[in-house]
């Protein structure tokens, strides 16, 4: 398996282990897929290779990408100086690769970019094909780009975005033109009050500093209450877990992946193969997801979350009609220590407060200088331009 330590390929692109590269093992950080070799490459990878970029290798992820930033990987949780880091973000920060492709399913690459102080852009849902992702939360997960600066992020995103007939939710535009040169001086940006209030003092200081820089450039910065942050968080948790449960159910030990060595019948094959190969967070998510999809709870949980999704979209669009972007923390802290596995589910749930709105609405988000910016659909250029403007 090609992992982080073996990569030393400046100018190349690292690819998260939840994204398929033909014939290269794709484990999604799980023992379940330890020896799984895909028969085809993800569309985003194909496009990069066609454009002349080379895949440097696969970067470690937390099991199925469900965690904070990779700490639940069966293979190699990454830490630096005793703190958690994302493998791809850390590689990009060290300059060993030009950029990385990551799946943003519940904010992991955003948090990783924030703690490693690199850029990560999650484009509008449907602009980059999901073909070739080891899927969890189909209605919100999206391939994004980790890069050292806005121009690199823009360069790679331009290559991978565009319609793909193999993805039924792919939007129709063949190509997207992104810019890092929009006039930030004329922009109005709002700080999301609820998210700001929930962050640590260090994170608040980062937001304040970022806001100061924007003001210096001539932008207007105001504070706004979103009025739906908690609802977005819970609804996304329900949708994300339910879809994940359903998508992970194909890993049953029958066709490929881990199979328990001893079983008496098919039920035992299922139960033992899955129990022995999946970690705590994946199991907790599956249990939660099964529960919210149960017939008796469907109306109150899943269906209601779909309706909340619409309300959150409307509300976010309303705010983004008045402002070019929302400025918010990407996570509650500037760094994370390894924690007790049994706390993973709550921990990720709490942190998803900061990342849920772009996930549930499909709106683009960008992490730069340790903070997060959210814009309306298709407004990646606003994010890239703001990121670029504060780079120097």
């Amino acid at each position: 398996m090609i992992y982080i330590n073996e990569i030393n390929a400046a100018g190349k692109i690292a690819v998260d282990d939840t994204i398929l590269v033909k014939d290269v093992p794709a484990t999604a950080g799980s023992k379940m897929l330890e020896n799984f070799k895909p028969l085809f490459s993800a569309e985003a990878v194909e496009r990069l290779e066609k454009a002349g970029y080379a895949v440097a290798g696969k970067t470690n992820v937390g099991e199925f990408g469900l965690d904070l930033m990779g700490e639940t990987s069966y293979f190699a949780p990454e830490t630096e100086n005793g703190s958690l880091v994302g493998a791809a973000a850390s590689l990009v920060a060290s300059g060993k690769v030009k950029a990385a492709l990551n799946v943003d399913l519940n904010g992991a690459p955003r948090r990783a970019a924030a703690v490693s102080c690199v850029d990560f852009i999650k484009p509008t849902y449907g602009t980059v094909s999901r073909y070739g992702i080891i899927a969890c939360a189909c209605s919100g997960e999206q391939i994004g780009v980790t890069a050292k600066n806005a121009d690199d992020a823009k360069e790679i995103l331009s290559v991978i975005a565009g319609h793909d007939s193999k993805d039924g939710t792919s939007l129709p535009a063949e190509k997207y033109e992104y810019s890092t040169e929009e006039n930030v001086a004329e922009m109005k940006i709002c700080i999301a009050k609820e998210l700001y209030d929930a962050a640590s003092a260090e994170v608040k200081a980062k937001i304040d500093g970022f806001a100061e820089s924007l003001k210096k450039l001539g932008a207007k910065v105001e504070e706004v209450s979103l009025g739906m942050a908690e609802q977005a968080k819970t609804a996304w948790q329900i949708l994300m877990s339910a879809e994940t449960t359903n998508n992970l159910s194909r890993f049953d030990g029958v066709k490929y992946g881990y199979r328990t060595p001893e079983y008496k019948n098919i039920d035992e094959l299922y139960v033992k193969s899955r129990s022995e190969s999946m970690g705590f967070l994946a199991k907790a998510t599956i249990i939660y997801g099964s529960d919210v999809l149960a017939k008796a709870k469907y109306e109150k949980c899943y269906d209601k979350s779909l309706r909340i999704r619409r309300i959150v979209c409307d509300k976010a669009r309303e705010i983004l009609a008045d402002y070019d972007a929302i400025l918010a923390p990407a996570c509650s802290q500037v760094s994370y220590k390894p924690y007790d596995t049994a706390d993973a589910f709550e921990k990720v749930y709490e942190e998803s407060l900061f990342t849920a709105i772009p996930s549930i609405t499909g709106m683009p988000a960008m992490v730069t200088k340790g903070v997060q910016l959210i814009a309306d659909s298709y407004k990646e250029s606003v994010l890239l331009s703001i990121a670029k403007s504060v780079e120097v």
């Binding site: 993800a42 080891i134 899927a135 159910s249």
Partner: protein, 469 residues
């Protein structure tokens, strides 16, 4: 007390698409080897996304039109979750919340059978059990092949009605090109209960799963009727709502082992498939492409001068009626074509135990043309037809190679007649001594020599002339 049956049917039919429902693997045309027709999508590999086969949607809408349904112009695909090795993703993509067609009906004689809904879904794979090694193998060829499930209301009151409905469904679906309805490609779940005649309440329901043979369906219904009535009248057993299967060897139904009494399939809308919106224009296009129904066809045939009974047979089967339409379109007269199909072709099908008429229409047209033009005799025509059925021979070449031409010159016939007379002294003597019947045996020998060629009337007159000379 008199009892009546209350039956509802869920009928699964394979759609005639070129590819599967959500990937580009070949569709209903069944491959020969296990797992021949499989790709990463229909075998449940991670990374693959479903893309809907538009043709399947159109065929389902056609089925809706055919069964007088309301077409839902906003329709969605949903996921139904359960674990089974023949279901590679552990979910089936089906339609739960917004099925494509609802509220239709079918006329069976005097009775109207309500259609609750028609929905589109993907088929599961197949498990092959090897008793010798106590191992099960999975074959994903059938996985994701498009199906429609036609759900009737509990409107049937007898097994005869059920059979009539299924026959009608089959011929209509074949006619509209919706399904080939090949052997086993139409599967039924039969929901059955019994109640005192006149009652409005429903009795305890049994569901007999996965039936495909009409005679077994009939037998199973009759068996269940007796079982239910016995249970009610003579308390032979306590009826419970359950799923049963028909055992064709033991000629009875058995409860299926079912650990979960009420399975929770955890339905939810498939986020990978956008809702399908069938706008008025598309709907009109599909409607315009509907072929005539079997009844309509039968009517046309009668107008062409075909007897009602023959017209009904011709229109009962898509292959027969296609053959008729094609051969008539090639310039042959409808009555002649009908007779050739109903007598000669069906005769051949019976002889060779074929269930469908699959010869090339152009060949039948050519045979009829040769016979009508007097190029070959009708007997020779039958011979060619038989060769076409057996070896798909070229009609003209076969006639030439086998000297079937009826217009062979009379001198050749005369020569043969004389030779045969010379070789059959006894018969000739018999004839001359007044045994007129002896001529028949000489005639037979000549026909044999000529291999059925030549106009029998001409041969007979030449023979008479020679014998009386």
């Amino acid at each position: 007390m008199k009892y009546e049956l209350v039956i509802g049917l869920e009928t699964h039919v394979e759609l005639s698409t070129d590819s599967k429902l959500f990937c580009s693997c070949g569709g209903h045309s069944s491959p020969k080897e296990p797992n021949d027709c499989v790709c990463p999508a229909c075998s449940g590999m991670p990374g693959m996304l479903p893309v809907t086969n538009k043709h399947a949607i159109e065929l389902a809408v056609k089925a809706g039109f055919m069964l007088n349904c309301k077409i839902n112009q906003y329709t969605t695909f949903d996921k139904k979750s359960y674990y089974y090795p023949d279901l590679p993703c552990a979910y089936q993509i089906t339609q739960w919340f917004h099925p494509i067609c609802v509220d239709g009906s079918v006329q069976i004689g005097e009775r109207t059978i309500g259609i609750k809904q028609i929905h589109v879904e993907e088929d599961a794979g197949k498990l092959v059990h090897d008793e010798a090694t106590n191992t099960s193998f999975v074959d994903f060829n059938r996985t994701s092949v498009p199906l429609i499930e036609i759900v009737s209301r509990p409107d049937f009151r007898s097994s005869d009605e059920v059979i009539a409905y299924l026959k009608k469904l089959k011929s209509s679906l074949q006619f509209a090109g919706i399904s080939e309805c090949e052997e086993g490609a139409m599967r039924c779940d039969v929901n059955i209960s019994v109640r005192p005649e006149g009652s409005n309440e429903l009795g305890v329901r049994s569901e007999i799963k996965n039936m495909s043979s009409l005679s077994e369906i009939k037998d199973a219904i009759e068996f269940e009727k007796v079982r239910h009535v016995d249970a009610i009248e003579r308390h032979t057993e306590m009826l419970v709502q359950e799923t049963r299967r028909w055992d064709d060897v033991k000629r009875r139904t058995f409860p299926m082992r079912n650990k979960e009494t009420a399975a929770d399939y955890r339905y939810f809308p498939d986020p990978n498939l956008m809702p399908i919106v069938i706008d008025d224009e598309w709907l009109a296009e599909i409607k315009a492409s509907m072929p005539a129904t079997a009844e309509e066809k039968s009517g046309y045939y009668e107008e062409m001068g075909i007897a009602a009974k023959e017209a009904a047979v011709l229109s009962s089967d898509r292959k027969l009626s296609d053959m008729f339409d094609d051969v008539v379109a090639m310039g042959r007269s409808p009555k002649t074509v009908a007779s050739w199909i109903l007598t000669e072709c069906m005769g051949q099908m019976k002889r060779l135990e074929l269930t469908s008429l699959d010869i090339e229409p152009a060949k039948l047209a050519r045979i009829i043309e040769l016979v009508e033009d007097g190029e070959i005799t009708r007997a020779a025509g039958k011979k060619v037809l038989s060769a076409v059925f057996e070896n798909n021979v070229d009609v003209d070449k076969f006639c030439e190679e086998n000297n079937l031409n009826a217009k062979i010159d009379n001198s050749f016939i005369l020569e043969t007649v004389r030779r045969v007379i010379g070789e059959n002294d006894k018969a000739v003597a018999d004839y001359k001594s007044g045994k007129v019947k002896a001529m028949q045996s000489i005639f037979g020998c000549i026909m044999k020599e000529l291999k059925g060629n030549g106009d029998p009337a001409v041969i007979r007159s030449l023979l008479e002339k020679e014998l009386n000379a």
